[in-house]
Every structure is written in C-alpha cells, then in structure tokens.
Amino acid sequence: MDMHFLSGVSVWLHFTMTTSSTHSKKDRASTVGIASYTIGFAISLVLTLLSFLVAPFVGILAAPMIVILAIVQLFVQLLFFLHLGSERGGHLTIVLLGFAAGIIGILIIGTLWIMSNLSHLHRSTPTTQDIYQGGVVAPQNELH
C-alpha cells in the first residue's frame, strides 16, 4: 500500500514538474503546477479571514496587523500565483519588484507629506477681514 502511494506521489510530482515548460529545474516543487495554486489559495484564504476577524475586535491596534496580513498575502500571491521569485537565480525579479515598490512608496508618502504640509500652512492664513480693521491695515499685519 505504502509503495503504491509513494510511487503515485512521485509520478504526480514528476508530472507536475516536467509538464510546465516555463519553469526551470531550479524551481521548488511547491511553486509549480496545481500544488502552487492550491497552497497559494489556501494561505490567502486564511490570511483574508484573519484580517476580517481581527478588524472589529482589536480596534486601533488592528491597523498594523491588517497591514502586515495584507503585505504577507500580497507576497504569497506573487509567489504562488504569479510565480515571481520561485527561481533560484531570479535576482533581477526581486530588483524590479523593489524598484516598483520604491516608486509606489515615493508616490504615496510624498503625496501624504506634501498634502499635510499644505493643510498645515493654510491653516494660519488670516482672512481679509483680519488684515484690514477699521479701514486700515491692522498693526500686526503691517509689512516691514
């Protein structure tokens, strides 16, 4: 019984590894074929349910947890669904991903920084009524 099962598993593994022509022999078996998608789906499912469960209970502390769960799920889907990073010599892929992350980071952090700066600066602008009091420029608003 055991031998049958083992030989069946090895045949299946061999089959999944050799029928995908876009993967090199260097890929791990878990990131190839049906196993890849099943594992990725299962892990993503767990992470999604965790996020939704954490949200109502922990309150403000849930925020970093949700972000971490989202980032982990992102990488899980990148690896198991998109196969980005399952090759041993795939350093270029990691560099490209890092570059994309850098651009996105600059965009989002830069926007938030600039907008918060702007709203802070505009908060203390005096109105026209403040500047002109009684028909003359109020002393504190005179330019020197």
Partner: protein
C-alpha cells in the same frame, strides 16, 4: 507597472481625502464587512480558477480549460455585479461621488478597479470565443499566461483595497 503607478496615485488621493467627509456619511457608516468578505472570497477563487486554466492550457486539457475559464468568468461577473450593486445603493441613498472628497476618491479608486475587472471579463469572453472557434492552438498557453498576469494583478490590488479602504474604514481610523 504603469497600472501599479495608476493605482498608487489613486490610493494616495484616497489617503489624503478619506477624512474629508464634508458633513456627509463616513466610512464607518457605509462599509459592510460581511459583504466585502464575500466579494473578496469571490475574487480570490476566481484567481485560483484562473491559475487552473493556465495549467489546463499547458496540458492541452480542453474540457478543463472551458470549465476553469468559465468559472473565472462567472466569478468575475459575480464580483462586478456585487460591486455595481453596492455603488447603486450608495448613490441611491444619497452617498454618491458628488457628496464629499472621501466619497469621490472612494468611488474613483474602487471604480477604477471595477473597470479593470470589466476589461478582464471582456478578455475572458474573447479567449472563450477563440477557444470555441479554433480550439487549443500553439498561442493559447501564451495568451492565457498574459491574461492570468492581468487577473492575478487585479486580485493583488484588491487585497490592498479591502485592507486599506474597507477594513480601515470600518474600524474608525
């Protein structure tokens, strides 16, 4: 990559505007977690069936390809229908994109994702027609790989949307 930049800028806009509710409804009032959970699971499953479709194309499994691509189509349509239903309900009760900056940025971000899903659905239809007329060709594997890249990317963007927009919104951040 440029799609990534598009979504990043829409996310940035939402991050800036999500507190500007102009006296209108806030995220806490509007977002229904269980509804979003179902939407998320539908899209995640469609990503899985898309992966199965790629495998079927590689192994020239015609029936499997029809079934998995069809499943992806049905799940994608379900997701889109749910999203459009939610939008219609929001607009109907007076929380349309014209009410506040928060709602404008929300509708734009989630709506752009929905538009991408719609284009993906059109793509599936073209793939299915081609499969029906010509059967599996040498180019089928390549076409499915390209489609699956697009579809998986959309699921990844949705991870960010449901985490940062819906879940953050519903815990009063």
């Amino acid at each position: 990559m440029s799609d990534c930049v598009l979504f990043a800028s829409l996310f940035a806009a939402y991050a800036v505007a999500h507190t500007e509710t102009a006296g209108g409804p806030t995220a806490l009032m509007l977002f229904d977690r269980s509804f979003v959970l179902i939407e998320t699971l539908v899209l995640l499953t469609s990503s899985f069936t898309c992966g199965i479709a790629v495998l079927c194309a590689k192994r020239k499994n015609v029936l499997g390809l029809w079934l998995s691509l069809g499943a992806t189509l049905v799940l994608g349509l379900t997701f889109l229908a749910m999203e459009l239903g939610e939008f219609a309900k929001l607009i109907h009760e007076g929380s349309g994109p014209d009410v506040s900056a928060f709602l404008s940025s929300y509708f734009t971000l989630v709506g752009t994702h929905g538009l991408h899903i719609f284009v993906g659905i059109l793509w599936i239809l073209v793939l299915l027609v081609h499969l029906g007329v010509r059967g599996i060709q040498a180019s089928t594997t390549t076409r499915l790989m390209l489609f699956s890249l697009f579809w998986h990317f959309l699921d990844i963007v949705w991870i960010c949307i449901f985490s940062l927009v819906y879940l953050f919104g519903s815990i009063s951040l």
